[in-house]
């Protein structure tokens, strides 16, 4: 029987390596999670930003090492995922490759299978979601498909843990079988067979191990740039002739892909019995609303509203409870315990380190709620519909619909929004989305603005706040267009949006999704947040424990000339902006300390308001709305981009934009003689 490894740590005698491959949205991760449970390791492929998932299980006393390869549509070197998948299969030579396909979308999924068969590896086909296919009225003749493909085919319903035993059994049998498979592979059409044979003869004996000559020749005719580069180096003498053949037969690609599509059409014709024309299935009924030009948007906004509601009504009370029941008592206990220690050390531990831990804990309930909802939406198949609805709007910035969700959820908190960009498959679009998230004003920024705006603008506060939000969103679009045009040269990846069928969510898959994402935050961003919080605390404490004499205050005074350009003639306002780096709410707390008034007091807003002219107040609010994001957001930007360069670019970009906007707004007001 199949069990996860922790239950059978000792007596497994044999081991095999199995690779899981499949297109996105076929339930491959569900299969992997069901088979390995918590006994899995998540990391990155060496030198890449693509996620690597490995796991182990014991089946019939055999230890099975499972690798979940990245979801990919084909094996041509178009993307990093495709390169990783094919390089792994060719170079690492797993004992068996299990290809997971969505039974309800067999035609689309068989293209990858056609390419995998050309790699000549032991191969099992996992026909997942057969229940969904049945709901659609499709009947798949498994035995006929198996006979047509001449490889083992196992029907699976991964979300219900059905068929997985048989799937692993088939893989194990295949790995142990002495008789190699002779699968029915797609063939190149006759018109170009002679040229394929000539290329094969030219490169035989010169192709580096472990590449197969047939596969390399096929990829050369397809115009695969990576393979061409490899052959040019490996076979320099034959290369000129190969190059001539390739330029004479540029159209060979039509006969290679043509062969694959004809093969798919044959497989589907023999193995699938389709419903009568005109039958309306559940997915069609639901999609009449979910992808409707008007009602689809209403539904999307309603769902996003529910996400906000859950964040505020479920996560926020837990955040407050953690603060009052854990962080404050812990700080009190540590303060008492360190009563005899030097004051600086006691304050470092209590205000710096415990304060930093408190910040990390603050985000945990928010992240858990956020990822649970996101996991459910992705698992049932709604997220793709939401992306489809927003696609045309996001194209303005060179993005796809999937970027809309994390950007919109940035209004709640930028941290889960940056982490939520994991749903964006295209790497360039994901990076651009991460860079744009901090321009979405989070709840904390809005809270600071809501606190101060009435003091500056009285009854006009609501209008000013609304204009500030609109200003941020306009800048977001403009910055998005500018980065896309200038940095990414307007590159736009060809994108095929596959709309999966709706299906019931799987608790285990969603649970693991929440667990892995939250753990990643704690491990990487959490540590960075605590360290930076302690450093910022030190700057506001040193040298004598008085914030008015601190290094931070010195920096504020030093930056005063820059502040004057924005109408901010008081260094305390600059210090408040600087300390907002720890958390945006710190702006109010710092102003309270510097002005000697409790931050709960209405008097604080009035006092700050009295020191500033309306023009300077507006400039301060603009900078507050656009200033560098908090340390937690910066930490997750580093975590998600895996690059200090892009993290520094993000911080630099926001710093530049906020200063230019602040100076611009104030100088414009001066020019127009308004509020000065």
């Amino acid at each position: 029987m199949t069990e996860q490894k922790q239950n059978f740590p000792v007596y497994s005698k044999k081991s095999i390596n199995v690779a899981l491959v499949g297109q996105p949205n076929v339930g491959k991760s569900t299969v992997f999670n069901m088979l390995t449970g918590l006994n899995q390791h998540v990391g990155n492929w060496p030198g890449k930003t693509v996620e690597l998932k490995t796991g182990e299980l014991v089946h019939n006393e055999t230890l099975i090492h499972l690798v979940d390869l990245p979801g990919t549509y084909s094996l041509t070197a178009n993307s990093e995922e495709e390169r990783i998948t094919r390089d792994f299969i060719i170079r690492e030579k797993p004992d068996v490759v299990i290809a997971i396909v969505n039974a309800a979308m067999l035609e689309r999924n068989l293209y990858l299978v056609a390419e995998l068969l050309a790699l000549d590896v032991p191969f099992v086909l996992g026909l997942n979601m057969v229940d969904v296919a049945n709901q659609q009225g499709l009947r798949i003749e498994v035995n006929v498909l198996e006979a047509a493909l001449r490889v083992p085919v196992v029907p699976v319903i991964a979300s219900k843990n059905q068929g997985l035993f048989e799937l692993i059994d088939a893989a194990q049998n295949l790995a142990e079988s002495p008789i190699p498979l002779a699968p029915n592979r797609p063939d190149i059409r006759p018109e170009h067979r002679p040229v394929l044979e000539e290329i094969c003869s030219l490169i035989t004996g010169q192709v580096p191990q472990p590449y197969h000559v047939d596969w390399v020749a096929l990829k050369l005719l397809e115009g695969d740039s990576e393979v061409m580069e490899m052959v040019e180096q490996a076979a320099p003498k034959a290369w000129p002739r190969i190059q001539t053949l390739l330029s004479q037969h540029e159209d060979a690609i039509l006969d290679i892909t043509g062969g694959r599509y004809e093969w798919i059409a044959r497989m589907v014709r023999v193995a699938i019995v389709r419903p009568r024309p005109g039958t309306i299935v559940l997915t069609d009924r639901l999609d009449r609303i979910a992808t409707h030009p008007f009602w689809g948007l209403v539904l999307l906004l309603g769902i996003l509203g529910i996400v906000f509601w859950l964040t505020y009504h479920v996560a926020m009370p837990i955040v407050e409870w953690l603060d009052s029941a854990l962080i404050i008592p812990l700080a009190d206990v540590v303060s008492i315990a360190l009563a005899n220690a030097p004051l600086w050390f006691s304050r470092l531990v209590v205000d710096g380190l415990i304060g930093g831990v408190g910040t990390v804990l603050t985000f945990l309930p928010i992240l858990i709620v956020f990822f649970t909802v996101l996991g459910i939406l992705e698992d049932i198949g709604y997220l793709t519909r939401a992306a489809y609805m927003m696609d045309r709007f996001m194209h303005w910035m060179g993005l796809h619909g999937r970027s809309f969700l994390p950007l919109f959820l940035g209004f709640g908190c930028n941290v889960p929004a940056v982490m939520g960009t994991r749903i964006v498959e295209d790497r360039r679009a994901r990076l651009l989305t991460i860079l744009l998230v901090p321009l979405v004003p989070c709840a904390a920024r809005l809270a600071v603005v809501s606190f101060l705006t009435p003091a500056f603008f009285g009854t006009g506060a609501a209008l000013v706040t609304w204009l500030l939000v609109i200003g941020n969103l306009t800048l977001l679009v403009l910055v998005g267009i500018a980065i896309n045009r200038l940095l990414f040269k307007g590159a736009h990846t060809a994108f095929i949006m596959e709309i999966p069928l709706y299906h019931a969510p799987n608790v285990r898959t969603i649970g693991l999704y929440v667990w892995q994402n939250t753990l990643a935050f704690l491990k990487k961003a959490g540590v960075l947040i605590v360290i930076v919080s302690a450093i910022i605390w030190a700057f506001s404490w040193l040298p004598d424990g008085n914030i008015n004499n601190s290094l931070m205050a010195g920096l504020g005074r030093w930056l005063e000339p820059l502040g004057r350009l924005m109408g901010l003639k008081d260094w305390r306002l600059i210090v408040a902006l600087l300390t907002s780096f720890v958390a945006k709410e710190n702006t109010i707390a710092t102003l309270g300390v510097l002005y000697g008034i409790s931050n709960q007091s209405v008097g604080l807003a009035a006092r700050v308001g009295a020191t500033l002219t309306p023009a300077a107040g507006l400039s301060f609010l603009v900078v507050q709305m656009l200033f560098i994001p908090c340390v937690a957001t910066v930490a997750v930007i580093k975590q998600e981009t895996n690059s200090w360069k892009w993290t520094a670019f993000s911080v630099g970009l926001l710093l530049t934009i906020s200063l230019i906007a602040g100076v611009g707004v104030y100088q414009l007001a001066v020019l127009m003689n308004w509020g000065v």
């Binding site: 035609e107 689309r108 059409r189 540029e250 159209d251 039509l254 892909t257 599509y261 059409a265 060809a494």
Partner: protein, 86 residues
Amino acid sequence: MVRNLLKLLAEGDIHNIPQLARTLEVSEEIVRMIMADFTRQGFLQTVNSNCDLQCKSCPIRKTCTPRKTPKIWVVTEKGYRLINAE
């Protein structure tokens, strides 16, 4: 089939996916996949919906509504080159 599809598209008439699928005797899904593949390879190009200026002379303008513009592909120079390479 793939070559025939590109030839049909290069003939210059207006086609739609159900009609192409009937002509080639394959499913609409296969035609959609090939069209997507052609687009990725650069043999076809999707026409941007910013076609307001040419609207009056467009032969399929009646299919557009303020809310919905049909997805349109055209054969690229690379696509024509492949067809002529036979």
